[in-house]
């Protein structure tokens, strides 16, 4: 480098360091020396890593160094440089590894980013606050749902008592009105239970009692719960789950997931459709249950979103938009809570398929 060039580099308004492949510093400019309070002699030959704060050193070793070796360059890496007086100075680093005078050297340019660091701190703080708020929301939902359930149960109970004639004879007109009250009360209770369930899961307040559960038995116990609705739409339910296959799962929650998948299948499949339940071993460590229907299917753009809370696919088969759109969100959370997963595949016009994967029980 010419004297003029070297002089320019020395006084550039940003820090500059070069180090060899052994990490030892071979060049450092005055700007950086002044900012960090070191003398040129004290840094020359020292390992570049020793200029970094501990957190930055870990980051250098695990990400920055591999990046430089594979890529030859790295941009906008935030590092804390340790000044002589112990102050950690936040700097953005751009680095380039190249051959010079027959050896590989890495040139790094450092720009102090005090203002940007402040903005980023504010952003991080905002994110933390948002996460707190989300947690507060879940707690609020859990408490509210619980508080709402008590009077709703009272409405249901007293309606039943009136219907039974405890408070005197009931006319036909009154009976019809009471039935409407009961229907609405049940609907509202279902919605609230869904919200409460999701809030509980989000707040991490669900306990799982994991044990070996025979898949065939669970399917046989669940199918009768949807058979009347399926029969009403002349749908056929086929089941092919061999005996002797067990999942490591919470029996009640497994049944809840399966019931949700079957209810959806019946709801979103038209008259005369076919719903199929299959199960088996997928690998030495995993078993699956799959519910396939011949419904309208889910458009590709919706497929990624159906597991989000409050998302529903609009189809004519589903009739009125009953429910909260929480069933699949709850089911997937429960599946994951049992170290499994719930995934969906669909071909519009052909049908949808939901697959629940669960771990196999460990032998002995």
């Amino acid at each position: 480098m010419t004297d003029a060039g070297s002089d320019l580099l020395d006084r550039a308004p940003c820090g500059f360091v070069s180090f060899g492949d052994d990490g030892r510093i071979c060049h450092v400019n005055t700007t950086l020396l002044d900012r960090l309070g070191y003398t040129r002699e004290s840094l020359f030959g020292r390992h570049f890593e020793t200029l970094l704060g501990v957190g930055s050193r870990i980051f250098y070793q695990t990400h920055f160094f591999p990046l430089l070796r594979l890529h030859g360059h790295a941009e906008e890496i935030f590092l804390l440089l340790r000044a002589r007086d112990g102050e950690d100075v936040g700097m953005l680093c751009n680095a380039l590894r190249r051959e010079r005078d027959g050896a590989e050297v890495t040139d790094c340019v450092f720009l102090e980013v005090r203002e940007r660091q402040k903005f980023e701190d504010a952003l991080l703080e905002a994110r933390r606050a948002a996460e707190e708020a989300n947690k507060a929301k879940s707690t609020f939902l859990a408490v509210m749902s619980h508080e709402l359930r008590t009077p709703l149960n009272a409405i249901g109970g007293y309606t039943q008592l009136i219907e039974m004639g405890i408070h005197g004879p009931v006319t036909d007109g009154q009976r019809e009105a009471l039935e409407r009250i009961t229907r609405s009360q049940r609907h509202l209770l279902r919605l609230i239970n869904d919200v409460l369930n999701l809030a509980r899961i989000e707040a991490g307040r669900v306990e799982y009692s994991i044990m070996p559960v025979p898949l065939q038995e669970i399917v046989e116990a669940t199918l009768p719960m949807v058979e009347p609705q399926a029969a009403a739409k002349s749908q056929r339910i086929e089941s092919a789950v061999p005996g002797g296959i067990h999942a490591a799962a919470d029996r009640e929650k497994l049944q809840q997931i399966l019931l949700n998948l079957l209810t959806n299948a019946v709801k979103f499949t038209g008259e005369g459709g076919v719903i199929r339940v299959e199960g088996g071993e997928r690998s030495p460590t995993e078993v699956y249950l799959r519910v396939t229907d011949t419904g309208k299917g889910i458009p590709a753009d919706m497929l990624g979103r159906i597991f989000e809370p409050f998302v529903q696919v609009n189809t004519r088969e589903a009739g009125s938009r009953e429910g909260t759109g929480l069933g699949l969100a709850i089911s997937r959370d429960l599946a994951r809570g049992m170290n499994g997963n719930l995934t969906a595949a669909s071909t519009p016009g052909v049908g949808s398929s939901f697959e629940l994967a669960l771990p196999r029980p460990k032998e002995n």
């Binding site: 492949d21 052994d22 990490g23 390992h47 890593e49 704060g53 501990v54 957190g55 930055s56 050193r57 870990i58 980051f59 070793q61 695990t62 990400h63 160094f65 591999p66 990046l67 070796r69 594979l70 890529h71 941009e75 906008e76 890496i77 935030f78 590092l79 804390l80 936040g90 953005l92 660091q117 980023e120 952003l123 991080l124 997928r282 690998s283 030495p284 460590t285 990624g304 994951r336 809570g337 170290n339 997963n341």
Partner: protein
Amino acid sequence: MKTDVLARNNVKVLGRGTRPMLFAHGFGCDQNMWRLVTGAFEDNYRIVLFDYVGSGKSDLAAYDAKKYATLDGYARDLLDVIHALDLHDITFVGHSVSSMIGVLAANEEPDRFAHLILIGPSPRYINEGAYVGGFERKDIEALFEMMDHNFIGWANFLAPAVMKNPDRPELTDELNASFCSTDPVIARRFAEATFLADNRADLGRVTTPSLILQCSDDMIAPDAVGEYVSAHMPNSTLRRMRATGHCPHMSHPEETVALIEEYLAPARAGT
């Protein structure tokens, strides 16, 4: 499903041998970090490479915060890859955190593994009582804080992918060739799973013979940690390297290959 795992973890198989050698990358990078050493084993081994979910070209949609909150989730994925390819008699090569992920997997299904080669292993990064891990808790917290700041750096780095500039194809090429790319949110959580883990109790349960490669001046896994691992893991051989730093397979590939070959030579001669 078999294919799901192979796509999820971006599994690559190469080499002309039949015995599997399975390479597992460390935190902060991806399978590309092995490219200077795999060539030496291609003649005699079936090389298997993969990316953890959230790293490299893995399927980000498969990320599950709960599953991957601890190293057990990563060990399950490692076993998934092993099952998907039905690997037996595996020579496992793990860098850094992958050493412990390999230990967890080998403890789960010891019959699958023939050798564990652990580069810079640490069962516990944080000092505790008489145990020297090399870091205080506040050091690890400083790393997390620094990674939070690199969110934005990372986002900038990844920006061209989002822009998909058709008139500047070099941007896309750059990205296709982008190594050690990591989803910043996932990387941050992976850092917590890695640096807050305590796998000391798992070492004693290992039955698979192992080689521990300990670098000189490794600030991530200092000498004392390598010695601890060796002392607590039955059937282990500790080799100190001339290589400095934490990534000898990248900085000193020849020495790394030579030590692995030397360790495996008796086993190879026996077949």
